[in-house]
Amino acid sequence: MSKLYVARNIRVAARILDGEMRIMSGKDSTLFTLNKTATTIWQAADGATPLDEIVERRICPEYEVEPAAALQDAETLARELAAHGILEVSENPIFSLNPRAANRPAGEFR
């Protein structure tokens, strides 16, 4: 099975407020509030770490779920977020043209 890579879309705005990630879509200025799982995926979405690794390291230990089921849910979520222009999804690692983007904060300042 091929790997899936996820990266935060550099055109969105993001900020954590009251423990929840708030995202403003760069596509149509729609505001989203990510739940805890989606926030974890968003924060880990560096374009270089495959989604299964994110799920195994960040989701499974925290939520005590089976890796296969968790990965399936995470893939569905990642594609939904991609449809809204919040994440980029690819079967290959995603490298941004801007070298600073790799170290870009995920909005978690507070």
Partner: protein, 360 residues
């Protein structure tokens, strides 16, 4: 405002987070708009490093919506460096500009950096009227060219039109122009005093008759009867509510680092060159005072029937001499809308009468 946005604002208010901020990068400008409230000389703007440091502190304090304005922002040679840093900090960014310095290359860079929207000032669809307000020849055609470049990049552009006696006849033309360009437009009949307190700009505003006509234009206000209805007397909930978001979830920083509750509220609360942004936000005595004010504390307004839907601006009230008092311009708007004078307009009328009696 969407439900999620309302919830976001309510959460920010409850947590004491400065959700939105306006940062003016410069007061210098390449136009000389007749109604402008600014002094365009440079009295020592923050350096690039100071602004980047401030942006770091703003992000740390929780600022999410950031408006970069001026003066004319593109007069700063480091504008794109600042914008790039702000986007790196994942702010949601709105730019306010006259756009005359935006060509294809600048529009492409703005798109690349993921700016949420660009507000461009357009006062008329006719060059002779617009250019007579900006006092710069060909400024309309340059601004319109820029809007086309920005639109070609798929960016969201909003035309902002300040309505004055000079361009009163042209607002329909500006709206038609906005439709033709495929952009949004806003119309604001508020002309503000200059930041130094000089009120001569107010003479440029539209009169009551013109306001009445404006408020009865169905294409602008929707249901005229509903819009112009006299609101019911305020209940306890309304009296306990906050007059405005300035100082509660919003703030403003000048090019010199001065911290104010809002761009229209020139009450200095601190300076980010000497204090941390978050420290001013949390500890300023001026902000604490503003935060203590409820609608019930407003002199005259708390007894006024208009208070539930009045556009009263605490900053304009402050410039009139009392942040707990009325902003008479907004009393006049309520009067033009409903035909019912506000409590403060009535008392103003009485005091004028008294003055005349004394003179006699």
């Amino acid at each position: 405002m969407s439900g999620l946005m309302q919830e976001l604002s309510a959460t920010a208010l409850a947590l004491g987070v400065p959700l939105s901020a306006q940062l003016d990068l410069t007061y210098r400008c390449n136009e000389r708009c007749v109604h402008c409230y600014l002094d365009h000389d440079d009295h020592g703007e923050m350096t690039t490093a100071e602004i980047k440091h401030l942006l770091d502190e703003m992000a740390e304090a929780g600022v999410f919506m950031l408006t970069l304005s001026g003066g004319e922002i593109f007069l700063r040679k480091d504008f794109f460096e600042i914008l790039e840093h702000a986007r790196w900090l994942t702010f949601c960014i709105k730019l306010k500009t006259n756009a005359v310095m935006i060509r294809e290359r600048e529009a492409a860079r703005i798109r690349e950096l993921g700016v949420e929207s660009i507000q461009v000032s357009i006062y008329s669809h006719r060059p002779e009227v617009h250019d007579a307000i900006t006092l710069v020849r060909s400024s309309l055609s340059r601004s319109l060219d820029a809007i086309r470049f920005l639109k070609a990049q798929g960016l969201k552009v909003i035309i902002a039109n300040v309505l004055m006696a000079q361009n009163m006849q042209d607002y329909e033309g500006v709206r038609a122009l906005a439709d033709e360009l495929g952009v949004e437009s806003t119309l604001d009949p508020t002309v503000t005093p200059m930041m130094d307190g000089n009120r001569s700009t107010l003479n440029l505003g539209v009169d009551n008759t013109a306001l009445q006509r404006l408020f009865r234009n169905e294409s602008l206000v929707g249901d005229v009867e509903e819009f112009c209805a006299v609101p019911p007397r305020p209940g306890e909930d309304e009296l306990q509510s906050l007059p405005c978001s300035a100082g509660h979830t919003a703030c403003y920083v000048s090019p010199y680092g001065d911290f104010y509750p809002c761009v229209q509220f020139p009450l200095t609360c601190g300076n980010v060159r000497r204090q941390r942004f978050a420290d001013i936000w949390r500890n300023s005595e001026q902000l604490k005072e503003i935060r203590s004010i409820r609608v019930k504390d407003l002199s005259g307004c708390s007894q006024c029937t208009h208070v539930t839907n009045c556009t009263r601006c605490p900053g304009l009230a402050y410039m009139e001499g009392n942040m707990r008092g009325p902003s008479i311009q907004d009393c006049e708007k309520s009067f033009a809308r409903t035909g019912v004078p506000s409590v403060n307009l009535q008392s103003k009328k009485h005091s004028v009468k008294n003055l005349i009696q004394i003179r006699m």
